[in-house]
C-alpha cells in the first residue's frame, strides 16, 4: 500500500515539476535524466545514507500503543492524550508556537514531531531522554502536560478489562508502568516517513527532486550553505547541541505561567530561576551549553512549523533567512554559524530542498477505546 502511495506521490511530484515546461519537455527530461551525482563536473557531496527500515513490533503491541496514544485517561483530569500535542493530521506536531498544556498551565517549548523519532538517540530539545520509552515518561508525568503518575495510571488501566486483555495479548503480562511505555514506543516506531523525494533521490531516483530542490540540496550539503555541518546523517541531525542565538520570545519572558514552567524545570535539576531558556545546560550544567538546543531532525520539516525550541519562526523561509544572517546574537553562539548572505534565489532553493523532505505520513486514526 505504502509502495503504491510512494509511486503515485513521486509521479505527482514529477507532474508538479514538469507541468510548467510542457509535455515535450516532460518526455525530454524523463528520457535524458540529469543527475546531481553522476555529472562529472559536480563536486562530490557528502550525502547521508538512507534511513534503515525499523523492525515493527507485534501488531498487538502497536495496537495497544495506539489505544494509549489516543486515550485521554492517561492524563490526570482526562483532558490530554498524546495526540493533543502530536496531532496525526499535523505531521504529529501541533502547529503552534508552543505546546498545548495541561489545563490552567502553560508550556515553555515547541512540540517536536514524532515522525521518525524512533530513529533518535536523544529526545526533547535538551536531550533529556535517551529512548522512546524514557521520553514518554516526561509528558505523562509533567504537571504542564498530562499530569499523571505512571503507577497510578497502571492501576487505573488494570481496572479496565479491555486494557487488561490488550496487555495480556501484547505482552502476556499484567498492566505495568514499563509496559505502558513499551507499548507507546511500539506504536511510535511505526510513525516513520521514508519515501520523501529526497529519500527517493538518495535511493537512486535521479528525477525525484525538482531542479530547484536539487540546487538547494547542493547548497545544503556544500560549503556555501554549511547546513550539513549539523544537519547530517540519515536523520539530518547530528543530535548535538548548539546555541544559535534564537531570541527569547516576549511571551516566554513575561507570561508568569510560562515562567513558572521554566522555574519548575530548573528547580527539578537543582538550578535557580534563569531569565532565559537554559537549553542543554539544564541537563549538563556546562556553561558552554547555555542556550544550546539539539539539532532537530528535518524529515517532514515543511509540515512541522513553527520552528525552533520556542516556535519563534513561522516559516521555513524565516528559518533560512535567519541562518543566512549567521543566526542570532548571543555571546555563546556556535562558531559554526557564519554570515552567508544567501541570495533570494539561494534561499528559495534551500526552502525547496527542505520541502523535498516531506513524504507520506502514516495515516493514523483514533481507534476504538475501552469504554467507547
Amino acid at each position: 500500500m505504502r509502495q503504491e502511495i510512494c509511486t503515485y506521490q513521486r509521479s505527482w511530484l514529477k507532474f508538479q515539476q514538469l507541468k510548467w515546461v510542457g509535455l515535450l519537455s516532460l518526455f525530454g527530461l524523463l528520457l535524458s535524466g540529469t543527475s546531481l551525482r553522476a555529472q562529472p563536473s559536480q563536486p562530490t557531496l557528502d550525502l547521508p545514507a538512507l534511513l534503515i527500515t525499523l523492525e515493527r513490533q507485534s501488531q498487538a503491541k502497536i495496537d495497544l500503543g495506539r489505544m494509549l496514544f489516543f486515550d485521554r485517561r492517561l492524563s490526570g483530569d482526562g483532558t490530554m492524550s498524546c495526540a493533543v500535542c502530536h496531532i496525526p493530521d499535523q505531521a504529529f506536531a501541533d502547529g503552534g508556537e508552543l505546546s498545548p498544556a495541561y489545563p490552567t498551565n502553560k508550556h515553555w517549548r515547541n512540540t517536536p514531531s514524532l515522525l521518525n523519532a524512533a530513529y533518535l538517540d536523544l529526545f526533547f530539545w535538551d536531550g533529556r531522554a535517551d529512548s522512546l520509552s524514557a521520553q514518554a515518561v516526561g509528558p505523562l508525568e509533567s504537571p504542564v502536560e498530562m499530569n499523571s503518575k505512571l503507577p497510578y495510571l497502571a492501576a487505573k488501566l488494570a481496572e479496565i478489562p479491555e486494557y487488561q486483555k490488550a496487555f495480556q495479548r501484547a505482552y502476556a503480562a499484567d498492566v505495568s508502568p514499563d509496559l505502558i511505555l513499551a507499548a507507546l514506543a511500539a506504536f511510535e516506531q511505526t510513525l516513520s516517513v521514508t519515501d520523501s523525494p529526497f529519500e527517493c533521490f538518495l535511493a537512486g531516483e535521479e528525477q525525484a527532486l525538482t531542479t530547484q530542490a536539487g540546487r538547494g540540496l547542493k547548497l545544503f550539503f556544500g560549503p556555501r550553505g554549511g547546513c550539513s555541518q549539523c544537519h547530517s546523517g540519515p536523520l539530518l541531525t547530528d543530535q548535538k547541541f548548539y546555541n544559535l542565538g534564537v531570541v527569547e520570545t516576549k511571551t516566554l519572558q513575561d507570561d508568569p505561567q510560562r515562567r513558572a514552567t521554566r522555574r519548575y524545570m530548573l528547580e527539578r535539576q537543582g538550578l535557580p530561576m534563569l531569565q532565559r531558556d537554559p537549553g542543554r545546560y539544564l541537563m549538563s550544567k556546562q556553561p558552554a551549553e547555555m542556550g544550546a538546543f539539539r539539532t532537530p531532525p528535518l524529515h517532514q520539516v515543511a509540515q512541522t512549523g513553527p520552528y525552533m525550541h520556542n516556535g519563534s519562526f513561522k516559516t521555513l523561509a524565516e528559518v533560512v533567512a535567519f541562518f543566512s544572517h549567521g543566526g542570532g546574537d548571543d555571546a555563546q553562539k556556535s562558531k559554526l554559524l557564519k554570515v552567508r548572505n544567501f541570495t533570494p534565489e539561494e534561499q528559495a532553493d534551500l526552502v525547496a530542498f527542505l520541502e523535498s523532505l516531506s513524504g507520506t505520513v502514516p495515516q493514523v486514526h483514533r481507534p476504538h477505546l475501552p469504554g467507547d
Binding site: 509511486t7 524523463l30 538518495l202
Partner: protein, 76 residues
C-alpha cells in the same frame, strides 16, 4: 522503506524496481507516468478539508457569514 531501495526486496514491487533505473525502460516509465496522470486527479492528493453537516445545530453570529466555525464541545 517505500521507495526503490526498500521495495526492491518485495516481490510485488518487481515492476516498480524494474522501471526505476534502467535507461532502456525510461520510455515505458514515462508512459506509465502519463497513464497515472490520467488515472488520478489533484483533489485526491489535496489536503482534505473536514466537512461538517451543520443540521439544525445552535448557531451564533451572522447567519450568512462566510466563515463557519464549528465547535465540538464538552461542557465539563
Amino acid at each position: 522503506m517505500s521507495c526503490i531501495a526498500g521495495c526492491s526486496q518485495a516481490p510485488q514491487c518487481k515492476l516498480q524496481n524494474l522501471l526505476s533505473g534502467k535507461e532502456e525502460l525510461r520510455l515505458v516509465k514515462s508512459l506509465l507516468f502519463l497513464f497515472m496522470l490520467l488515472g488520478f486527479s489533484q483533489p485526491v492528493l489535496a489536503k482534505g478539508l473536514v466537512e461538517v453537516p451543520l443540521g439544525d445545530a445552535p448557531t451564533r453570529g451572522a447567519p450568512d457569514a462566510p466563515v463557519v466555525m464549528v465547535e465540538f464541545i464538552d461542557f465539563q
